[in-house]
Symmetry: D2
Subunit: 387 residues, 4 copies
């Protein structure tokens, strides 16, 4: 396409993983569709070729492949090949698939945690840098308008210097040995060979960690962790407690658990600064409580008074009409669509679209997993995140 021409079409998306029985694949498809910026035209939905083709037909996806390698090669060769691929497999496959598509010159949208080893994460980061391709990491919760509002307020100094962060992600779906029943989601997520070394740590702890960093712009200098497996026979952790020391003298406590009975998907974030605090709950995502020092607490709503530019940009309907998880996820897709389109049209992407996490966030998540496990093995000693 000639430099400066307007890309007057939906982007062409491919998908690897996300066949029958999967959870996150369907979420990605809905998210990609929601704002109408993509059409899903190619897929390797399953590692079984026949199942892959049948599933694609059910989903009205025109081009079905039996393997991601074949797909990367074929799509790269097509005049109207895919602009980007969504990788929605179990964790251990993220790396080879992302590598294959990046090497084929195709932008990548990848689920988290990005890889199962630091080495793989660094190799991907290097590859992204070398190819200059766009790499989006679906840390879903950064797509919520009120999370972006929090970030905007913190970076604007409205809370003063950050002192203390409380972040937690509590679920209960693994309070029993569900994996022993053969449940597909429980099975691979508790299998270190497919999930990576972290259980709850990798699955949701990384979300909590990323959220704390994303909203405050702070980085973790060292951490001390206690890692527990409460359910007998489980091969990975199901509860982690972490104390963190962040840049600028801030402290944080992080808790992630999949055995916390009574919690469905309770990700909550509280940020305390010298001049104010913010509090947000994923299960009530359209609200943000803002407490300025020695003043009344206020309720910021997605589209209400005081919602800033980043919240407005990621909201679709008036406040009071709740948006939810799909819309947050869709925001990441839409931001990436902005980036990909801008690239195709030879212009800079709008700055707001760059909020979507990228390959360095992926590296950070894998380093977090690694540091937590090292600290836990070392009697919870303070442990720096490897660079």
């Amino acid at each position: 396409m000639a430099e400066g021409m307007k890309l007057n079409r939906r982007l062409r998306l491919g998908m690897v993983g996300g066949g029958p029985g999967a959870f996150i694949g369907a979420v990605h498809r809905t998210a990609a569709r929601l704002d109408d910026r993509y059409e899903l035209v190619a897929a390797a939905l399953s590692s079984d070729a026949a199942r892959s083709i049948a599933a694609a037909a059910d989903l009205h996806i025109p081009r079905a492949y039996g393997s991601y390698a074949e797909m990367a090669k074929a799509e790269a060769a097509l005049e109207d090949g895919i602009d980007a691929v969504a990788i929605v497999t179990p964790n251990y496959m993220h790396f080879p698939i992302a590598k294959a598509f990046l090497e084929a010159g195709i932008h990548v949208i990848c689920d988290k945690p990005m890889t199962t080893t630091i080495e793989d994460a660094q190799e991907l980061a290097a590859l992204v840098e070398r190819t200059g391709l766009i790499f989006g990491l679906t840390q879903t919760y950064t797509g919520y308008p009120m999370v972006r509002q929090a970030r905007e307020m913190v970076l604007a100094g409205e809370l003063g210097a950050i002192r203390m962060i409380q972040v937690e992600y509590a679920q209960d779906w693994l309070a029993t040995p569900l994996e022993a029943s053969g449940a597909k989601q429980a099975d691979w997520r508790t299998d270190p060979a497919r999930s990576g070394p972290g259980g709850c740590l990798g699955d949701i702890g990384t979300h909590a960690f990323h959220l704390a960093c994303f909203t405050t712009g702070l980085t973790c200098e060292e951490l001390a962790a206690d890692v527990t497996t409460f359910v007998p026979g489980r091969r990975v952790d199901d509860n982690i407690q972490v104390m963190l020391r962040l840049s600028g003298g801030a402290k944080a406590s992080l808790w992630a658990s999949q055995i916390a009975v009574g919690n469905e998907n309770s990700l909550t974030l509280r940020i305390y600064g010298a001049k104010g605090s913010l509090s947000w709950k994923q299960e009530d995502p359209n609200h943000l409580v803002y407490a300025p020092l020695q003043q009344q607490s206020r309720l910021i709503t997605r589209g209400g008074a005081g919602a800033g530019a980043s919240a407005s940009r990621s909201t679709r309907i008036p406040s009071g009409h709740p948006e939810g998880y799909f819309e947050a996820f869709a925001q990441l897709y839409t931001d990436l669509a902005e980036q990909i389109t801008a690239r195709a049209e030879g212009r800079d992407a709008p700055p707001e679209s760059l909020l979507v996490p990228g390959v360095q966030d992926g590296v950070g998540g894998v380093r977090f997993i690694d540091a937590v496990l090292r600290s836990a093995r070392n009697r919870s000693a303070w442990t720096a995140l490897d660079v």
Copy 2:
């Protein structure tokens, strides 16, 4: 298509209204797209032909028309014409447009209130009966899983005989004379010529009324209403208070207001029976509070313990991952897709898909508007809903 063949494609949808500056048109488009059962292929987005065509191009809609009449005629003649049309214009246009498409043999998905007069409503009902076509009315809130859960529980007798209902719909966006500023949404919604005789009454009062009837299966026998316009110069009501007597001896209080400062879209429903109660809030739609008589109150979540068939059917992701307004709206579209597809394939629609409100609900809403206004004019006398 031959009887009994599987309709192996997305449905073809048309849209009338919903051009630039509109609110609900974009919601319909997103809702139709969310579950991937439709593709939007034809539209008359504006009553101005040039704007209609330009807007359609922006939205990648292949067939644009300058008028709904032209569109109905042309689409009916096409081999691959639209299966259904979505009508998202100001209220006063619902009737002629719905009539035109029904007469052209095309299924209709219509926003509410259905018409601005009882006569028009009845004519549409007769037309739907005569043509046998599918007519869906987008009383959005019936698409929420927890609203359907409430209905399922009430109809199963879990609350015992219903005694008292409290339903209210409070907003504040018209607390000031916003229409005087030229704001498009405020302008037509406060103009009786375009909105119909009810202001707040028609716009949101009908939702509250429908919700109470939908969840309980009760009908209104008579009502006593006080109707107020608080904002000076406003041409329609902005606050209504209604006492209702329902079938079976139940009572209800209904309040709708667009001047209730501090409320964004606060639709709440509480149902009290002899054996228990239910409470639901639209702004926290994934939860339903159930209080059995002399027992502890319980929290029913969208996909959690105790959520029944109708909730499960209308849920997409695990509990704790909030679904919202778009997903509720999408559910109506998906249910209608089930109905339309079943019709095309010559089979009965799944019973659950029939929960989407239809033309008789539309008649009921218009009758409610009419009875409230008659009662108010008659010093709040008890007034029966005209049959």
Copy 3:
């Protein structure tokens, strides 16, 4: 006592009613004791003389009487007789007892509703005026700091002109025919001979009505009511719905119910003005939500930022340490102690102490009961409150 001398002692309090099995008598005793302004020195706790004396001994009350008449006479004659009497009997006895003590020159603290007829209420009002004695009516909820804060804000104009009030008082303890079981509280409260003509209406409806008037300073001009007895065999109402037209063009909806399953003592008040709104819940009494027009909602706490003089005066401990029902009740006693002490010392009472409801509030409550019942008998016609 010589004019101007400081009354350097606790006030001497008497009590009529409140013997074994009573509910509100013990509350009055605790409330009187809480701020240490009273000592309870005389009582006629029961209409049975022997039980009265035995109960007084159990409570360490030095002077016990067999009848209120005897007590009024004897105490009036004592040098150190009681300063005030608390009347905590079933409603039908309030009038003769209050009359006896007023005629004996003793200040009165009376439970609500004040009397069972308008005539009695007016006679008491005349007697209070004639004697110049202090008469406190324990509309408990006016003792809550956040209720007084609401009143202060409304009267200061912070909400602009009041437009709409939603007040409700929902309980469920009479959802079944509890009176048939012989439960003492249910028995007399559902017996018109002892409770007066209103059931739920008199018991809690009067609280809701008074709260709306107290916080806004508005009066009711006319009302339209629907009164229901849901529980078969019950002799009084157990659910009332009222639409009200208030001074200054404001409207209100009031609901009181004792059959609303899942509600314990859910008194809630929402006040909507042209410039803002307030919302308060008795079950979370230390908080008040304030929503200024087109600004973020704020949370006002009992002792936090923005709490004004009337809240500060009625708070004992720092915010976050919850105060409750006893403390609200105690505030009325303490305010009355201020009034009584000031009278004894020959000075004006502090203006803030005059917030405690008096005999005219009692007359208003009885008129409200009467008007609701007249409207209900007259097919919910708009009915003025008799003067």
Copy 4:
């Protein structure tokens, strides 16, 4: 008094500390009075004799002393001397005063933390054992009915084996260097000489720690802590993070902070077991959320369905009429009155009255403070609580 005789009077209480400007003294007085089991007859309210006597006169306390030593000696010698003394001074004075009264044969009710050193704590414990006197420690929050309900449920096994506890106590009143302004409460609480070595740790961290142990019956085996002083110039900590390993394999995270802007007195407890969880918030103390595994969450209210014996015993009014901080505090006084009366009457105290914390709880609190500070000084190493 002869063995077996009924103690037919209020208990005689003395108080040391709690003069003008104090906070907790007035709370103790109100708490002691609330249930009418005590009369306050003697006091050394201030270390300044003249102020002590003047303050006692204002409070209608008949016997005023200039020093606690004088008071202990004099009261012990009186026929009608005090039954018990309440110690409400700054922390560093708890020990000598408690010692003096115990040695004088007088029961002690002491504020927390009990002492400022482990040695003092142990000496008090030995003295209590030797004298056989009653020693109550006012860990206020154990007086709340729903806290006792939680304990009852956990000990009855309703949650199964406890896995994880989250307890936190967040305030914001020391978010600025308030002590520099001369505010009396801030001044002594941030002065190690008067407060002891812990700041936030001793003041509120001990409450959080005790609450976790009290409700679960678990003990702490080791802990790892990070202790921070965020406000420049402050002499004690104002934020502590602790990871705990408890008996039976349970883990806990504890956070206490006095710089958490937006928090007034936010003590919250969540207990997760293999079969269920409980959640309680001090600022909404009348409710307890109970989530049984794979069932709907339930709301337990103070006097509602499912509230057990220990909650019923510590509740005064029907559910929905909120009780608060004073009532919780009063419960400790009332339980101690039961113990003291039983002792005087020569019988065993009712088992339920023994729930009030005692001298061993005091020792435990001081050990917790010590262990947290040792861990913090040792780079957060796991540290056992000294026995």
